[in-house]
């Protein structure tokens, strides 16, 4: 029996037990609309690719990381200096997080502008927003873990923001910090959330999100909905997957190149009693929120400016989450005002981020 026959027998043996032939047949039958907007559909799988990279590199880092006041910074230094290719693994983890957050934002923005959230895809949109929150929370909790001056100061500022919410603000800040101030308990808490709570939450929402995409299929672009013209479709397997794999390869190359040539550094171990360094800024994806908080005046009528800014941001978040219920037009309606609002928001976020960077 030659190798080809062995392979065929092994495949049929596996198929008898796992039934993967049925899965392949399903994927071959599943069709993906092929339009000029299909490029945005590729971002979904690219996010999944970066999530898998995050999980793998995160597990490797967790082997050596110690979430204690004494061990956090020195264990990260050890990963970077002593563990073979540890600096590269940490750099890949950091850059992959950046890519993942950027792609989640691009993915969600494309859906927003293309109005793919409309009936019957409201829950798909809401699960997508939850995935964005989970991803950003990953970034926020992970930022503290190196326990250097910058991460401590950023976490102090970040966890202090909920304090501005009337009535429940103090409770939320205490809940986040595990006490009145940022301490070793905060570090342990953030580590637990980063490696346990958030992955489980993200996986649960991801399952719902993917199930809904399978159930409802990909949305058609507006012009196809308006003109009711048939759209060219291609099978998910192998036509669409092969196209996605080309993008994955390029993204992988860019990720590894950036990770090797621009690895993140590690600051000196944080001192809880030291004052915050001058001109600290959060990660790039929080810059526009940070700048929004800064541009509000100290007092507006009877309310503090910070409280008003936080309430304004929370209201914006809620509107974003329930957006499909505000735009209840049929899928074929254009909705130019809503498109303009979406573009205005994007312009606002980009402008404030750049302002904050240059500030």
């Amino acid at each position: 029996m030659n190798a080809g026959q062995w392979w065929t027998r092994f495949r049929s043996w596996l198929d008898d037990r796992l039934g993967w032939g049925a899965v392949l047949a399903f994927l071959r039958q599943k069709k993906v609309p092929q339009t000029r907007h299909t490029i945005w559909a590729y971002t979904g799988s690219a996010i999944l690719l970066f999530f898998i990279i995050q999980v793998v590199t995160g597990i490797i880092l967790a082997f050596y990381y110690r979430p204690t006041l004494e061990g956090a910074n020195s264990s990260v230094a050890r990963i970077m200096n002593e563990i073979p290719l540890g600096w590269a693994v940490r750099s890949i983890h950091s850059w992959s997080a950046t890519f993942m957050i950027a792609l989640v934002m691009v993915h969600l923005t494309s859906i927003w502008i293309l109005k793919s959230y409309r009936r019957p895809r409201e829950v798909t949109w809401m699960s997508g927003v939850l995935l964005l929150i989970c991803t950003v929370a990953f970034g926020f909790t992970g930022y503290l873990l190196p326990w250097d001056d910058l991460s401590l100061a950023a976490t102090k500022v970040g966890t202090d923001i909920p304090r501005a919410i009337p009535l429940v603000g103090n409770f939320f800040t205490k809940l986040l910090r595990g006490g009145e101030d940022v301490s070793g308990d905060t570090l342990t808490r953030f580590f637990g959330i980063h490696i346990c709570v958030l992955p489980l939450a993200l996986l649960a929402v991801l399952v719902v999100h993917i199930f809904l995409i399978q159930r409802l299929g990909m949305s058609l672009p507006l012009e196809a909905e308006i003109k009711k013209k048939p759209v060219k479709e291609i099978p998910f397997w192998p036509n669409f997957i092969f196209r996605e794999m080309i993008l994955w390869l390029f993204l992988l190359g860019i990720l590894l190149s950036l990770a090797v040539f621009l690895p993140p550094g590690l600051g000196a171990s944080a001192d809880l009693r030291a004052p915050a360094p001058e001109g600290i800024k959060p990660e790039w994806y929080f810059l526009f929120l940070f700048q929004t908080l800064k541009i509000f005046p100290a007092h507006v009528l009877f309310m503090s400016g910070e409280t008003l800014a936080v309430l304004f941001i929370m209201a914006g978040g809620l509107i974003f989450f329930f957006y499909p219920f505000l735009d209840t037009k049929p899928a074929s309606a254009k909705g130019k005002v809503l498109t303009a609002i979406a573009w205005l928001f994007i312009a606002y976020a980009l402008a404030l981020s750049i302002w904050s960077l240059l500030d």
């Binding site: 970077m80 200096n81 940490r90 600051g267 001192d271």
Partner: protein
Amino acid sequence: MRISMVRLGYVLAAGLLALLVVGNFLTAQQTSSAPQPRPAEKKAAAARPSPTTSAPVETKVAATAPATPASPPTGQEVVPKPPSPKEQMGVYVFMAWLWAAIIVLVFILRAKVREADRLFEARYLSDDKHSHT
């Protein structure tokens, strides 16, 4: 002139990518812009607790951390790079191989895409064909 949504999308994606690269670069610069200790100061710093960290924490580090002579004491910045020239060269060679492999794989995948599209247009794998055979 009418600007299509796709083009605006490309501009947005490019803007975001540029923002994340510039943002990360600036953050990295901010992290590494603090004055670096000179070699002689580094030796001295290794021998005494760093003034930038609290004394109790330093004492605990000394008491609990395992003997890891290669890792710098806490209180010093760590600049990420391959520890030896050999590893550095290995990483660069790997990067060259990686991009070469990506280019080859992309060519193969493009050929596979064309083949898959041809088979689909010819209805080679469709249910109709299977039902006839």
